[in-house]
């Protein structure tokens, strides 16, 4: 459609809002209630502009012409229009510069400021406040308000991590709409009306794992992040645009740091991945990086105690100790959220030492590379048939939000010259969701099931059986189509169905029908399926059978990347097994296997134990050499997210003493050994990766780059020990909040509560466990300290324990007989 | 200690022999403190206040700085008054080295002491990195009386009456003061 904005002629797509047209033309209007990716509502009235359009004569159907010029006559609308809720029309003329519009803007700023408190010096939003900026740009500069302002509750703790100042709220409704439209958890609303309106919740707290995003979108200082309360002014922060290494979504982050501490994490913008949203675990879980316990110097064991030394001396000890060990008996393992450059460094180190025992952990038994038909997050958001196996909310939080996008049925908007459209008119408040396109399969009730049209609860570890049954049924139905009597053949195919897999035959047929009818089906699975190679094979085959793309959620941020570049053992029998008696020396990066007493006993006998860690733990307590590690916020490198997108990881300026990432370890080792190893620096690692991946990682755009699909790595796959203890198994489940750091993230600990042991209330009753009790119970050998949380969404006989890097998702032996109650200790259950 | 030592040993040796605290040492120090002749090293605006400190109203000559010696060979203290640019730094060092021992340095004003508001590529961010500073004078520029006070502080230092926040005596002449 051809329109004019002031003096600029534009051609925009029909359905574009006028505010987007104004910005596309290079002009601007102020706005408070519009937010990218959310519905426009025209509440704040700041975006008013004078709009006019030509009219057609009702009788002739021709444009009414202006006698003087001969062009179509412009009929100006009687009142200034809210441009965010106005669609463009053919021939429309928009005026944002005239005096009438200026008066409207001045007036609206004045109205908005009438009840706004004079908090700017003490308000954490100062310097980054949309109201401040708009008042400066569009206000009169003078106040005529001499009366008493409205008084409301100030600094109210809306949740443990979010502070609400009700006086500052300008009632734009972004937070209310956000909760309904993005995560689908309606937890916040306007209460009362008129001048008494305020924001509130039904119960205490904000029970949504994506609540923190409201602190990003609130235009004023009403909703603020409590972890950064009063830590610094916005102009004092140093901003680092990086990628989250907390989960395999690859969400864009902006880290605000000051004087060597991380004060706040905000969401970054990446239209392809996380849009402008991040989950609460990522947002509020940064306090551990500044904890006083951080190891800042290398340490070497002398007379039984760890003494701080310089890097050069530590590495001399490492070289000497490793020199006495047979190279093939050395194991090198890094955590699965290490960057690709660290992976290259680990490979170089393993090659130099002459060992094939190189691995990354946690690593599921099956490959996490999707193979031939990978789904991007955009594919997920535009899909019309989603089969989800697992709990994406906790495995890769952003995937949960993209799934919810798909339920709205609105494809992502095309980018305009100014970026993402500010007011996408296809989005409306409380849109109907197409829940019928989503099927969630999980061994317990997950939050995502609330939004699914079809839910299936197989027994724990039963995904393999279910998938095989579905696959068989799919094949049978395909064959049945070619049979002489398709109806009878189809029924025969259903006859052999065993309901014990978790769903009925009719439901299975309906599911396959839905997937077949879908034009862009996507199959998403995570740790529960990857833990079982047979389940993984069945899932891949099922995806091929229904023509679906696949998205596999790996255990940690970069499992896909590390597998892709080959940080894998040379043979299956060399897969990471810290309890192995064949290994005489271990070099571990960010892993803590000695939590398991069996492993600890084994480690006491090692010839050399070299641990690269950020905090002291059970493994560093046994180590010969401890090297200080940086956290995921301080690494310079690249990561590959679940969809196969390379994303840049950049270092925030955090004071970490002499800590480095694994490339630093390899560099120091190379200096001590007199070798120039590949991966001794991020630059040298990138040279290697350039050859392997044909990508210049130093030039990665901020929103990343999709790699062409790669085949699943054939070697190195190994099943988890499938032993079941006499008293049962625990299902280790994914966790959005990183449990290993929870003790050092006080805000997140208060918000989330401690790690929980979830079971059906009848099981709790049978074992005499009460809600809130703190217990210690060995799970897969590792003693886990957990809070009892009976949950009727957990099937009877299933016990759920949140995952740790050293205890991956899947079934592990659970020794309930050895359960020990921490006498008298109870905790809040979130 | 023989009187001849006074002429043969140099002051640092005398100091090490613990002689500063003897009556003779104190006499020498008193004499030195009351006749500190500055070398003309006015670089920028602070130089004007330095000039003001020599006028009739604030007479620095009362403190013993009778003349500002143009030749460093005849001067005791270098008052670095103003912005020291990186281009000028070797020149200043040369002038400082031409001064005979014992010599002191007063860093006058924000720019000489720390770069002041000129935190850029051209200005030395603390002349202590070029010459060892004994007294810093904050101000932009310091009042003439503030400079007179600083000279008085230097006199106290020369006489050995100064100490840091831990109560440790500051030596009469010190090496690099940056710790």
């Amino acid at each position: 459609m051809k329109i004019h904005v002031n003096d600029v002629p534009l051609d925009v797509a029909p359905g574009t809002s006028v505010i987007d047209a104004v910005f596309a033309a290079g002009y601007d209007v102020p706005y408070f209630c519009s937010q990218e990716y959310m519905s426009p509502i025209g509440a704040c009235r700041m975006c008013l502009a004078r709009v006019g359009a030509p009219r057609k004569d009702r009788a002739t159907g021709e444009w009414i012409l202006d006698e003087a010029t001969g062009d179509a006559k412009i009929f100006w609308f009687p009142n200034p229009m809210a441009t965010c809720t106005t669609q463009v029309m053919e021939g429309m003329v928009v005026d944002t510069l005239s005096k009438e519009v200026k008066r409207a803007q001045n007036g609206m700023v004045e109205f908005t400021l009438v009840n706004h408190p004079l908090d700017c010096p003490t308000c954490d939003k100062g310097g980054a406040c949309e109201l401040q900026d708009r008042a400066y740009e569009y206000g009169t500069g003078e106040s005529r308000f001499v009366f008493d302002k409205r008084h409301q509750e100030k600094h109210h703790a809306l949740s443990e991590a979010i502070t609400l100042d009700r006086e500052r709220c300008i009632h734009c409704k972004r937070c209310v709409r956000y909760f309904e439209e993005v995560p689908g958890d309606e937890v916040l609303d306007f209460i009362e009306r008129g001048g008494h309106t305020y924001i509130g919740t039904l119960e205490d707290g904000l029970p949504s794992p994506f609540s923190g995003n409201i602190t990003d979108i609130c235009p004023v200082g009403a909703l603020l992040d409590s972890t950064s309360r009063f830590r610094g002014r916005n102009w004092e922060y140093h901003h680092t645009d990086t990628t989250s290494l907390d989960d395999p979504s690859g969400a864009a982050l902006r880290i605000d740091a000051r004087t060597g501490r991380i004060e706040r994490i905000k969401a970054g913008l990446n239209d392809e991945v996380n849009k402008t949203w991040i989950d609460d675990g990522t947002r509020f879980g940064h306090e551990y990086a500044d904890h006083a316990d951080r190891i800042t110097l290398p340490m070497v064991r002398k007379d039984g105690r760890l003494e701080p030394v310089a890097w050069s001396e530590a590495m001399r000890v490492v070289r000497d100790k490793l020199g006495g060990v047979d190279g093939t008996k050395v194991g090198v393992a890094i955590r699965a959220d290490a960057t690709l450059e660290e992976g290259v460094a680990a490979q170089a180190l393993a090659a130099h030492l002459g060992t094939g025992r190189l691995d990354h952990a946690p690593r599921p038994a099956a490959s996490v590379l999707p193979g031939g038909a990978p789904a991007t997050l955009r594919d997920v958001a535009t899909s019309d048939g989603l089969l989800v196996l697992g709990d994406p909310t906790h495995e890769a939080a952003i995937v949960d939000l993209r799934i919810k996008d798909a339920l709205k049925g609105v494809p992502p908007a095309d980018l305009l010259p100014h970026g993402v459209p500010i007011a996408d008119l296809r989005l409306t408040e409380r849109m109907p969701r197409k829940t019928e396109i989503l099927t969630v399969v999980a061994p317990y009730r997950t939050d995502l099931m609330k939004h699914a049209g079809r839910t299936v609860t197989p027994p724990a570890g039963g995904e393999g059986a279910l998938l095989r049954a579905l696959l068989a049924l799919a094949h049978a139905r395909t064959e049945a189509q070619g049979a002489s009597d398709p109806g009878k053949a189809a029924d025969a195919a259903l006859a052999g169905w065993d309901d014990a897999v978790g769903m009925s035959a009719a439901d299975a047929a309906a599911l396959l029908d839905a997937l077949a009818a879908a034009e862009a089906p996507v199959l998403i699975w995570g740790g529960f399926v990857s833990a079982d190679p047979d389940a993984d094979a069945a899932a891949r085959a099922l995806a091929t059978a229904v023509g679906a793309k696949t998205l596999i959620l790996g255990p940690m941020a970069n499992a896909a990347g590390l597998e892709r570049i080959g940080v894998l053992p040379s043979h299956e029998r060399y897969a990471y097994d810290p309890a192995s008696s064949e290994v005489r020396a271990w070099i571990l990066g960010d892993l803590d296997p000695a939590q398991d007493p069996t492993v600890a006993k084994r480690f006491a006998d090692l010839d050399a134990l070299i641990v690269h860690a950020a905090f002291e733990n059970a493994t560093t307590a046994l180590a010969d050499v401890v090297l200080p590690a940086v956290t995921g916020y301080e690494k310079e490198g690249s990561t590959l997210n679940a969809e196969g997108r390379l994303l840049p990881v950049r270092a925030a300026p955090v004071e970490a003493g002499a800590a480095t990432d694994f490339t630093g370890v390899v560099k120091a080792y190379g200096e001590a050994a007199g070798e120039r190893l590949e991966g001794r620096s991020v630059r040298s690692a990138r040279r290697v990766l350039k050859k392997r991946l044909d990508v210049d990682l130093a030039e990665l755009p901020d929103d990343g780059r999709l790699l062409p699909p790669a085949p699943a790595a054939a070697r190195g796959a190994r099943a988890l020990p499938a032993r079941r203890a006499a008293t049962g198994s625990a299902l280790v489940v994914p966790s959005l909040v990183r449990i290993e750091h929870l003790d050092r993230n006080p805000t997140l600990l208060r918000e989330h509560g401690g790690p929980t042991l979830r079971m059906h209330p009848s099981d709790a009753h049978a074992h005499g466990l009460t809600r809130g009790e703190v217990v210690t119970v060995p799970v897969g050998g590792i003693p886990r300290r957990l809070v009892v949380a009976p949950d009727d969404g957990v099937p009877e006989g299933t016990w759920l324990v949140p995952t740790l890097p050293d205890q991956p998702v899947g079934l592990h032996p659970l020794d309930l007989d050895a359960l020990r109650r921490e006498r008298g200790e109870t905790a809040e259950v979130a | 200690m023989a009187v001849s030592d006074l002429f043969e040993k140099d002051f640092t040796e005398l100091e090490r022999d613990g002689i500063l605290f003897s009556t003779l040492g104190k006499l020498v120090a008193w004499g030195r403190s009351n006749s500190i002749y500055p070398v003309t090293f006015g670089l920028a605006c602070c130089a004007l206040e330095m000039m003001q400190s020599t006028n009739a109203r604030n007479d620095m000559a009362r403190m013993g700085s009778e003349v500002f010696r143009a030749s460093p060979r005849q001067a005791d203290v270098m008052i670095v008054a103003g912005r020291l640019s990186k281009k000028m730094a070797p020149v200043m060092r040369r002038v400082y080295e031409q001064m005979p021992e014992p010599k002191w340095v007063i860093s006058m004003g924000a720019c000489a002491s720390s770069g002041g508001m000129f935190n850029n590529y051209a200005i030395v961010q603390n002349v202590d990195s070029v010459v060892p500073v004994d007294v810093f004078v904050p101000g932009c520029p310091p009042r003439p009386e503030a400079l007179v006070y600083a000279v008085m502080q230097l006199q106290k230092k020369v006489r050995g009456e100064t100490f840091d926040e831990n109560g440790v005596e500051l030596p009469m002449v010190e090496g690099w003061t940056r710790s």
Binding site: C120, P121, T122, G126, K154, H155, R229, F230, R231, G232, R233, W235, E236 | A56, R57, N58, D59, R62, A110, S113, S114, G115, G116, M117, N119, N126, D128, D134, V135, F136, V137, P138, G139, C140, P142, R143, E145, A146, V148, Y149, A150, M152, Q153, K157, T162, F163, D164, E165, G167, L170, T177, R178, S179
Partner: protein, 175 residues
């Protein structure tokens, strides 16, 4: 040159011998400081409640052209508030050697907490002694770090070498 001319010139010089000298015998004679002279900073308190005026907003740090001010804010303990608002400055430091004594911090301060006073005798010997913290600048603290150090060792009060003038913004400052 005529002898008369030389004699006239010498006469002018000689006449000054009998005139009262204009020299202000600092430090014995106290220097007159004008009311709005910009010397060492003071952090003021509210006269009625005794709470600090500074709310830790960092506007002074933002306004400072030399970036001499470092502020860290903290939440007021409701039972024992330090300042009158939600927050106070837990760390407030000014590097006196970076400071150019321009008074922009005073102009920027929304509560009138930081005001430049009349003290100018700030010379000291080591760079690190010039980072003045809150305890060096709160109203009631008299003299520079060195003056207080010297007075404490000598066991007497700090004696300032200045004769201040009255300035109403310097609430509670008593020279």
């Amino acid at each position: 040159m005529s002898v008369l001319g030389i004699a006239k010139g010498m006469g002018v010089t000689l006449s000054h011998l009998f005139k009262k000298p204009v020299t202000v015998q600092y430090p014995e004679e106290k220097v007159d400081v004008q009311a709005r002279f910009r010397g060492r900073h003071h952090l003021l308190r509210h006269p009625d409640t005794g709470l600090e005026k500074c709310i830790g907003c960092s506007l002074c740090a933002a306004a400072c052209p030399a970036y001499a001010i470092y502020v860290e804010a903290a939440e007021n303990d409701p039972d024992d508030p330090t300042s009158a608002g939600e927050r106070y400055a837990s760390i407030y430091e000014i590097n006196m050697l970076r400071c150019i004594f321009c008074g922009f911090c005073e102009e920027a301060c929304p509560t009138g907490a930081i005001v430049l006073g009349h003290e100018f005798e700030l010379a000291d010997f080591r760079y690190e002694n010039f980072v003045y913290g809150k305890d060096d600048m709160l109203v009631g603290v008299k003299g520079s770090k060195w003056q207080r150090r010297e007075a404490e060792r000598a066991g007497r009060d700090v004696e300032l070498g200045l004769a201040p003038s009255h300035r109403p913004e310097l609430e509670g400052v008593d020279y």
